[in-house]
């Protein structure tokens, strides 16, 4: 154990952890990121991707300022994975109107910074011209614009950029113990590599705990204390873009909820409930699902006719403030320096939002650098993430390669300039132009590219990288096809190939099951027909590991 000491070990591969690793690596620190699952596999993977101007936290103007500035930075470094959504807040009663005024003022003050128009108030006719699904009885609506980022790609690009700058990223490595190393001034970090089944230890001068809902557990493994107020949120996901624009409205209890077109789907969210369950076991409840549908039904009356494909559930690690409603808890973040507990050089986060990830990283990296005596400025807001170098003319590429424009536009929205490299692969292998996931759609070349360049271990990891199986059929048709490609590229044995299929079915089913109804019943009959009736995988003797949410009856 006398190997060189890392400057920093970052624990957690979500939006914050990957941003911290990138910042540290860019400032020349010897950086290692350890993630117990995959990049963006927990909280950030269940969010709507809004890099919010601060709709919900108008009472904290300094946070709104910061968010506005961060949106500008994201648009500079990651514009290829950002989309802008117009949003309407329809009003059915005068009381709805009164709450909008304050927001409109605060929003409009900062609109120019983000290059969006100030808030507009629209007549019912104009509102319904933009979004015909709105209730005919609305009396007005408020129009504004927000930016949305692909949260999976953001985290992955930050992780990949960490590597570009000399940092290391290891997924499926769970930190078990952080302790003072007796032989040096370093900490030793013990972790379990879930892929190889082996234990590992590394030395580091500092540790950044960016484990989100698991931050208390990671802190405890270092003999330190972190408290959070864990708060769960559910989304209901529809099969297509069922609205032209985002719709934000008051829920049954007066909280704000939203319906956002998101990639090829629409997200309805979210709930906010204090939760002390193991985050790994959480699934959306019937109460949460009906709360969301009932609430949006006030302003989008035909919502129940739309096809729901699944749900998702995540946990926010809120700043621990007690005896106030969740909505009044600050949406800012805190960096905890554990020096006061006798653990100098260990830092933890609580709170924060997706939009703040880079800012949070800058703050903690400043502390780490100061501690290590490194004097390098932060450049994470200046240097673009991979793929954002220039514009891509997909119409020309569609003609050149004979791949559908739709498939290419979706690929461009994930990858920017990488589209060219991926298509280049099909010169030698034209068969890789075959569409594997038809819902999204995703072609085989992109799957192979991702496997080679983006370190996925499982089909679930591929889903996060290329949106495999995220559409209407929820992987019914692409699971076995993509599994074969993954198996070939990674040289997997037959057991791993079949386990991958079962694992992906399990993960998709986790979100489908709570809300199975309508067309999704036929979809599931088809999936059972394929994987159980024909494939006979229900009777397979391969070793399948139960998932946390499957345990118990």
């Amino acid at each position: 154990m006398t190997e060189d000491c890392y400057d920093v070990v970052v624990v957690g591969g979500g939006s914050t952890g990957t941003a911290v690793a990138r910042d540290c690596a860019m400032r020349g620190l010897r950086t290692l990121l350890l993630e117990r699952d995959d990049i963006a596999s927990a909280t950030v993977g269940t969010c709507a991707g809004m890099i919010s101007s601060g709709l919900k936290y108008m009472d904290e103007p300094e946070i709104v300022d910061m968010c506005s500035q961060e949106v500008v930075h994201f648009n500079h470094i990651a514009r290829h994975i950002i989309m802008k959504n117009p949003i309407l807040t329809p009003m059915l009663e005068m009381s709805d109107l009164s709450t909008g005024g304050n927001f409109a003022e605060e929003y409009s003050k900062r609109a120019a910074t983000r290059d969006v128009p100030p808030v507009l108030f629209l007549t019912p006719e104009d509102s319904r011209a933009i979004e015909p699904s709105l209730h005919p009885d609305i009396i007005a609506s408020m129009y504004f614009e927000e930016f949305f980022i692909d949260p999976f790609r953001l985290c992955l690009l930050q992780a990949l950029d960490t590597r570009v700058h000399g940092g290391e990223v290891r997924t499926y490595c769970e930190v078990l113990r952080i302790a003072k190393d007796p032989d040096s001034k370093c900490y030793s970090v013990d972790f379990y590599d879930r892929t190889t089944g082996e234990m590992g230890t590394v030395l580091t001068r500092t540790v950044v705990n960016a484990a989100g809902p698991w931050a208390p557990r990671v802190a405890k493994s270092a003999g330190a204390t972190v408290e959070i107020r864990p708060n769960k949120g559910a989304h209901v996901i529809f099969d297509r873009r069922i609205v032209n624009v985002g719709v934000v409205t008051k829920a049954v209890d007066g909280r704000m909820i939203y319906l956002f077109p998101h990639e090829n789907t629409t997200l309805l969210g979210t709930t906010a409930l204090d939760s002390w369950e193991d985050p790994d076991t959480l699934v959306a409840t019937q109460d949460e699902i009906e709360y969301l549908i009932k609430s949006i039904e006030f302003v989008v009356p035909r919502i129940r006719e739309a096809r729901i494909i699944r749900t998702m559930e995540g946990v926010r690690p809120l700043i621990p403030t007690w005896k106030i409603p969740e909505g009044e808890v600050s949406r800012g973040y805190e960096v905890i320096d554990h020096e006061s507990e006798g653990k100098p050089g260990i830092y933890s986060f609580t709170g924060g939002k997706l939009v703040m990830a880079r800012h949070m990283a800058e703050a903690v990296t400043d502390l780490v650098c100061k501690r290590l005596g490194v004097d390098e400025p932060c450049r994470t807001h200046e240097k673009p993430l991979p793929g954002n170098e220039e514009d891509v003319d997909i119409e020309e590429l569609a003609r050149e390669y004979g791949v559908s424009l739709h498939a290419l536009e979706r690929m461009r929205a994930r990858r920017g300039t990488e589209v060219r490299e991926i298509l280049e692969m099909t010169r030698e292998h034209p068969e890789w132009k075959t569409t594997i996931c038809t819902c999204e759609p995703v072609i085989e070349a992109e799957i192979r590219y991702s496997i080679r360049e983006e370190f996925p271990q499982t089909l679930n990891d591929l889903r996060r990288r290329v949106r495999l199986g995220t559409g209407t059929c929820q992987g019914t048709f692409c699971t076995y096809k993509a599994a074969a490609i993954l198996a070939e590229e990674l040289g997997l044995e037959s057991d791993d190939y079949l386990v991958d299929i079962l694992d992906f079915r399990a993960e998709r089913w986790k979100g489908i099951r709570p809300v199975i109804r309508g067309e999704q019943l036929a979809q599931e009959e088809l999936a059972q027909g394929m994987y159980a009736c024909v494939g006979n995988l229900d009777q397979s003797d391969i070793e399948y590991e139960m998932k946390p949410w499957e345990e118990g009856m």
Binding site: Y480, K481, L521, D538
Partner: protein, 461 residues
């Protein structure tokens, strides 16, 4: 518009087409209303009768044994119900059910014998079919372009070649080869020499996004099998292959003759694997059943669905159907409901419960509890793919011993509506591997009950 018939069958999958054909053969005037293709057209080429008993972890020794146990232990299973209107002495249930299924299977084999979906196999033993995943499953009958794995087990020197088609993503020969090899090693069976390759079949001149139906249509053209044979010959030579497994794309019409032609040209055994939807063997079966039905003298109304109905006393007298351009009122003396489950469109579910869509009949779960007021998610297992299956797929209508849907009080909803296929509750075809067998047996039986009913009505008049 108004039409009249003696027997009206609602639903054009296997259950409905078998019921319609059998009724037409019994001399009735039959009209069948078909909304579109249902689960039959998605099927794999295997004709399951019974592979596993409910919740069992081992396959049944053979269909005869499986059916015997079902008849004795699961009296509410559709196989058991179909066999039970006969006065059965206790202990004689198995024989009755066996005789019925056997009669159905022999009848159907005979009717399909000259079609592209001709079947081989019988109730005495289950075949072992290999799938495009490389896995195997027990099934009763197979389309004749396919083969039961034990037929290959004799020769220790056998070399099995999995051949895929470049740009056709539904079959990955490399992955399937590995899965099957593992199965052979674990079970200490042959062949254990396994190779894989990808050949080029390019119906439209491109090498990507090629569908199974496209390849099958291409291979239906005379002479197009020659270039496939040439491609295969290279790899057969290279690996010394004795057997060649292909995805199920050998033709919609000519799969069997194409298989024979390849075998003759190449001097090896050639067979198709079971496929996943969209399925060429499923299309063969659907087409062949429709042909069988039309040849029996039945009339077919395509693209129509039943939207309302009229009762008179305890009898159903007519239904209203809706098609792309018109509505038709159809009167009949007896009706068969064979609308399938969720794929077929016989059942639909929302957050409050599951309902039968044509007549709003009482829907029940596989446990025969009302499914009308329980969220479908409550009838599901946490496990995505397991021997428990998804219990919601056992939902359907509860039927009396004449296959007539019943009301809450257990009495028939009407005297002249019979049911067949997966609209019937109480079995999970995906885990039992019993789908087409139940569909055929209940379809066949429903037709028998219709005949009895019509005879009775005639006598009373």
């Amino acid at each position: 518009m108004h039409m009249e018939t003696e027997v009206l069958v609602i639903g054009g999958g296997l259950a409905g087409l078998v019921a319609g054909t059998r009724a037409a053969e019994a001399g009735h005037r039959v009209l069948l209303v078909q909304k579109g293709h249902g689960a039959t057209a998605y099927s794999s080429g295997a004709f399951d009768v019974i592979g596993y008993l409910p919740d069992a972890l081992e396959p049944v020794a053979n269909p005869v044994e499986g059916l015997s146990v079902l008849a004795q232990v699961y009296p509410l299973h559709p196989y058991s119900i179909a066999g039970f209107p006969v006065d059965v002495e206790s202990g004689g249930e198995s024989a009755v059910v066996l005789a019925l299924v056997s009669e159905t299977v022999e009848w159907l084999k005979d009717r399909l014998d000259k079609t592209p979906a001709a079947l081989s196999g019988g109730l005495d033993s289950n075949l072992v079919a290999m799938t495009v995943l490389g896995t195997t499953k027990p099934t009763c009958l197979l389309q004749k372009s396919m083969v039961s794995i034990p037929e290959m087990e004799g020769e220790e020197d056998g070399v099995l070649l999995f051949a895929g088609v470049r740009g056709y993503a539904d079959f990955a020969p490399g992955a399937a080869a590995k899965v099957f090899l593992r199965d052979r090693m674990m079970n200490k069976k042959y062949p254990q020499k396994i190779a894989h390759c990808q050949v080029r079949v390019s119906p439209s001149g491109t090498d990507y996004n090629i569908s199974g139906v496209e390849i099958a249509r291409h291979l239906d053209h005379p002479g197009s099998i020659d270039s496939l044979a040439k491609e295969l010959a290279v790899y057969i030579d290279q690996f010394g292959a004795t057997d060649v497994a292909l995805p199920p794309v050998l033709g919609i019409q000519n799969a069997i003759s194409n298989k024979e032609a390849l075998e003759e040209r190449l001097g090896v055994r050639v067979f198709e694997l079971l496929g996943l939807p969209p399925s060429v063997p499923g299309l063969r079966l659907q087409n062949s059943l429709e042909q069988m039905y039309l040849e029996s003298g039945g009339a077919l109304l395509r693209g129509h669905e039943v939207v309302s109905y009229t009762m008179e006393g305890d009898r159903l007298i007519s239904v209203q159907t809706k098609g792309p351009s018109r509505e038709i009122q159809i009167s009949a003396q007896a009706f068969v409901l064979a609308t399938g489950k969720f794929i077929g469109g016989g059942l639909s579910g929302d957050k409050d419960g599951v309902r039968e869509i044509v007549f709003d009949l009482m829907s029940v779960t596989g446990e025969f509890v009302s499914a009308e007021e329980a969220s479908p998610s409550r009838s599901t297992s946490k496990l995505a793919v397991s021997p428990l299956g998804q219990p919601v797929l056992s939902n359907g209508v509860s039927v009396d011993s004449f296959l007539r849907p019943v009301k809450r009080n257990g009495l028939e909803w009407t005297t002249n509506l019979f049911s067949a296929g997966s609209i019937i509750a109480g079995y999970n075809y995906a885990t039992e591997k019993s789908g087409l067998g139940v569909a055929a047996t209940t379809g066949y039986t429903a037709a028998l009950r219709v005949t009895e009913y019509l005879k009775e009505v005639a006598q009373n008049e």
